[in-house]
């Protein structure tokens, strides 16, 4: 075997450092969890966990099932059928991705609860007291399932659509020649081949559900994440909360394991060459109308309604009160933090994936697994775990300055937003890692080998061959991370510097004052800022027609 070139070594070291970065908050959490908290546990086991575990499991099962159904059905409809409005629905379908879960919860409770718009409308045709009986109970477990599924289904939709479009035309044509109908093809050919992608989508939606505190707590669902919060704050047991967080992490690991099992035995190789597009079936009349409805309802509830609500409230407030000038500064902070985190996450993701591609070994595979760990950490748990490592670095820097006789620069990472960026990178690194890995898997190694046989170095091969081929994956990852950073709330809240507000923290402040509508414009900016990236993402996953 040839000795490894220096670029290999560098990438390996960088990949291990990245893994270390992601592991830091988890390790710090484990250290906190080492302190005994026995009295917390006897209590948790007796009174809290049975309910929290079952509610969490039900919520995840509900959201998982709903996102799977909605995401797969809509992706299948737009990928292999033509029906009225299809071209508009293609870009409307992924847009709920731009609506944070906590935002959607506030909007729906306001709309569907007593004295909300729906109640007032019903009161026009019946007595108000009777109309109350007709309102759907939004603040309930089923309400939470529907609400979360309406904004999270795009994870499944996007991954399913990417596969439905690209996958083996040959197999489908063969099936058709054998006389299989559309649904038989869907059941026997399309879905089995799409299973890995569907598993990824559902796992992402489930992890987002597990991460959520704001919406669940508001809707009265006592999930494990909410229990971590109560144990820490009301029972004053940080150790107990850390231990419970590790249980939560176990839950997340279970989800990922299920996802991996879903992917196993699915050795369908997608062709690297441009796949031939298969023709779409035209649906007319009633069938066409039904297809349009099926693809219209999810984005209607996940995006159009919340966005319209926010637009209405912002207009009303901007006209009567004017726009808070701080909003523009908040927007600048938000975009700067998110953009910086996106760049770093993309770079680190690439390094981790390159390390496994260039040197397939247990170390590199482990580094990649660890790098994806952050997505399983709820934002607040991550922030708590990150406090110690960040401040160890800050303290060390300050001490170095002092030992050379300079005045202390203060806490560098905490006071510059470095801690927030670190939290974003750790939390969302799984996205570029996963997407780039998938992207690389579709580049045959022959390409690399040919280039290198022609005398090109690793970096030249990467620059000239791999990166151009990876462009869709890179762009897709950048967009997803950026949008996720814009929406992030709990870690931003705890780790940001003095005098810095972001859009999400600003919305949060209005909401906790009991006047969520006053933050509608900030919310609208988050949603609006996410729209172009989401559309861009759709275009990239779209093949030329």
């Amino acid at each position: 075997m040839r000795p490894s070139p220096p670029s290999d070594q560098t990438v390996l070291v960088l990949a291990l450092l990245t893994a270390l970065l992601v592991a830091a908050p988890v390790v710090s959490l484990m250290l906190i969890a080492l302190q005994p908290a026995p009295e917390v546990w006897s209590h948790l086991i007796a009174y809290v966990l049975p309910r929290a575990v079952s509610d969490t499991a039900l919520l995840i099962a509900g959201v998982g099932t709903l996102t799977l159904l909605i995401g797969t059905a809509t992706a299948w409809l737009v990928s292999s059928h033509d029906f009225p409005g299809r071209s508009a629905l293609i870009w409307l379908l992924p847009l709920p991705l731009s609506v944070p879960t906590y935002l959607s919860a506030y909007v729906y409770v306001d709309l569907f609860e007593p004295l909300g718009l729906v109640h007032r409308a019903l009161s026009l045709v019946m007595p108000a007291a009777q109309a109350v009986q007709w309102l759907p109970p939004m603040r309930s477990l089923p309400g939470a399932m529907l609400l979360l599924a309406a904004v999270l289904y795009p994870y499944v939709y996007l991954s399913a659509r990417a596969v439905f479009q690209a996958q083996g035309t040959d197999a489908i044509e063969a099936a058709r020649t054998l006389g299989a109908g559309r649904f038989t093809i869907l059941r026997r050919v399309v879905l089995p081949m799409a299973r890995p992608a569907l598993a990824v989508g559902v796992a992402l939606a489930a992890l987002e559900t597990l991460n959520d505190i704001g919406a669940s707590e508001y809707l009265g669902v006592r999930t494990l994440t909410v229990s971590v919060f109560n144990t820490w704050l009301n029972r004053g047991s940080l150790a107990g909360a850390a231990q419970l967080s590790l249980v939560l992490l176990g839950f997340a690991a279970l989800l990922i394991a299920i996802e991996r099992i879903g992917r196993r035995n699915a050795s369908v190789e997608l062709s690297a060459e441009s796949p031939r597009l298969r023709s779409r079936t035209r649906l007319r009349g009633l069938k066409g109308g039904l297809a349009t409805m099926a693809c219209l309802l999810p984005p209607l509830f996940g995006f159009v309604l919340p966005a319209a609500y926010l637009l209405g409230e912002s207009l009303r407030r901007s006209l009567s009160i004017g726009i808070d000038p701080a909003l523009w500064r908040d927007t600048l902070h938000t975009v700067a933090l998110a953009a910086l985190a996106t760049l770093i996450a993309l770079g680190l993701g690439l390094i981790v994936v390159l390390a496994t591609r260039w040197r397939e070994a247990r170390t590199t595979r482990a580094a990649m697994a660890v790098a994806q760990l952050g997505y399983t950490l709820p934002g607040l748990v991550l922030a708590l775990g990150l406090l110690t490592p960040v401040l160890v670095i800050d303290g060390t820097v300050a001490n170095i300055f002092r030992s050379f006789g300079y005045p202390s620069p203060g806490l560098i990472l905490m006071s510059t937003g470095g801690a927030v960026v670190a939290a974003y990178v750790i939390r969302f690194l799984a996205v570029p890692t996963g997407l780039l890995k998938a992207g690389f898997d579709r580049i045959p190694r022959d390409y690399d080998d040919s280039a290198r046989a022609a005398g090109a170095g690793r970096l030249v091969t990467l620059w000239k061959i791999d990166l151009p081929l990876l462009r869709p994956a890179l762009v897709g990852a950048a967009i997803l991370v950026f949008v996720d950073c814009l929406k992030e709330l709990p870690a931003t809240l705890l780790l940001r510097p003095l005098n810095v507000e972001t859009l999400s923290t600003s919305i949060y402040q209005y909401a906790s004052r009991g006047s969520f509508e006053d933050g509608a414009l900030a919310a609208l900016i988050i949603v609006a800022a996410s729209i172009p990236p989401v559309i861009w993402l759709t275009r990239f996953s779209d093949l030329p027609e």
Partner: protein, 336 residues
């Protein structure tokens, strides 16, 4: 200038706090929302020339200050409730305020015997009662467990910090066994599973889902002043409940002086200023709160609730029973 340096400078311009260069400053970590306290800080800066830098969060600030250690920029921690004050003192991040001004203005009941914290303003935990369906004038907290209210009460999560403090006060007064019995009774009287916030509670009472709602004075006043929501407030009235033989439970907003405060003199100045007449007036008017000092006129909406008689139980006793209250809430399945 290289492109890198330009980028670095641009970033610095965004992130380095505007006031960092000011000679006189004070750094405030707050659980009160920035937008709520900003008018106060603006007035303070105008009065004293001391710039105020702020970070607000919903939880974890004492953990952050603790982790920041001796280098922490935190001077003052401002909280919404005794719970977080208690956490801060327990985390060892406080130091005695040592201010004769505070000792004179703030009643002993509302400050720490050891000077580690002081109350700055109050909100009462009250009852929103339906005007149509509830005729009874005075209601006690104890009475909320009376079966006559079966299926008629709405409340947010029993683990929410405001309810936690109310339940802790109950434990302090009646002991754990009685408190458990009371919580079971209250739970049996609920019209629905606890969820939402105080605002949703008021809404549910106004719409007839329940007859009594438990919430803070502040949210009700906020609704009355919002033309869209005035109807919700108009359908209800605020009852100031009392403990039997006691007074009304208050959520105490308080301050802690950070152990490593780099601007300690300014921090004490700010704390004293917050207890002063001007700040107390702003608290009373803009935030619909009860001033901590005597002689400051109440906001007319708040005054309309009737005369507040704060429960005489020392706040420190409430803090000591928070954990017990939280445990009982789980034990009786209050939120289930």
């Amino acid at each position: 200038m290289s492109r890198f340096r330009a980028a670095a400078l641009a970033l610095a311009a965004v992130f380095v706090p505007f006031a960092a260069g000011a000679a006189e400053q004070v750094n405030v970590y707050t659980y009160r929302e920035t937008k709520l306290v900003q008018p106060l800080f603006d007035a303070f800066t105008k009065d004293t020339g001391i710039a105020v830098n702020v970070i607000s969060a919903s939880s974890g600030l004492e953990q952050r200050i603790k982790a920041e250690g001796a280098d922490s920029p935190a001077d003052v921690l401002l909280t919404v409730d005794i719970g977080r004050i208690d956490d801060a003192v327990a985390a060892g991040i406080s130091q005695p305020i040592n201010s004769p001004v505070i000792d004179e203005i703030v009643p002993a009941q509302f400050r720490d015997p050891n000077g580690q914290w002081a109350g700055i303003s109050m909100r009462a935990r009250v009852i929103y009662a339906s005007k149509d369906r509830v005729k009874q004038e005075a209601i006690t907290y104890e009475e909320l467990a009376d079966p006559k209210w079966k299926g008629k009460i709405c409340i947010r999560s029993g683990q929410h910090i405001y309810n936690n403090a109310l339940f802790a006060a109950y434990v302090a007064k009646h002991g754990e066994a009685k408190a458990e019995e009371w919580l079971r009774g209250l739970k049996a009287n609920l019209a629905q599973k606890p969820s939402g916030g105080d605002r949703e509670t008021a809404r549910d009472v106004a719409a007839g889902k329940c007859d009594l709602g438990i919430g803070n004075t502040y949210y009700w006043a906020l609704m009355l002043n919002d033309p869209d929501k005035k109807a919700w407030a108009d359908a209800t009235r605020v009852v100031l409940p009392t403990f039997e033989g006691g007074g009304t439970h208050v959520n105490l907003s308080g301050v802690v002086l950070a152990k490593h405060a780099p601007n300690k003199a300014n921090a004490v100045k700010l704390i004293e200023w917050l207890a002063g007449e001007k700040a107390q007036q702003i608290y009373a008017d803009a935030n619909y709160e009860y001033p901590i000092r005597a002689g400051v006129p109440l906001n007319p909406i708040i005054a309309g609730y009737g005369k507040l008689k704060p429960d005489p139980l020392p706040i420190a006793k409430i803090a000591a029973n928070r954990k017990a209250a939280s445990t009982l809430v789980d034990k009786v399945g209050f939120d289930n």
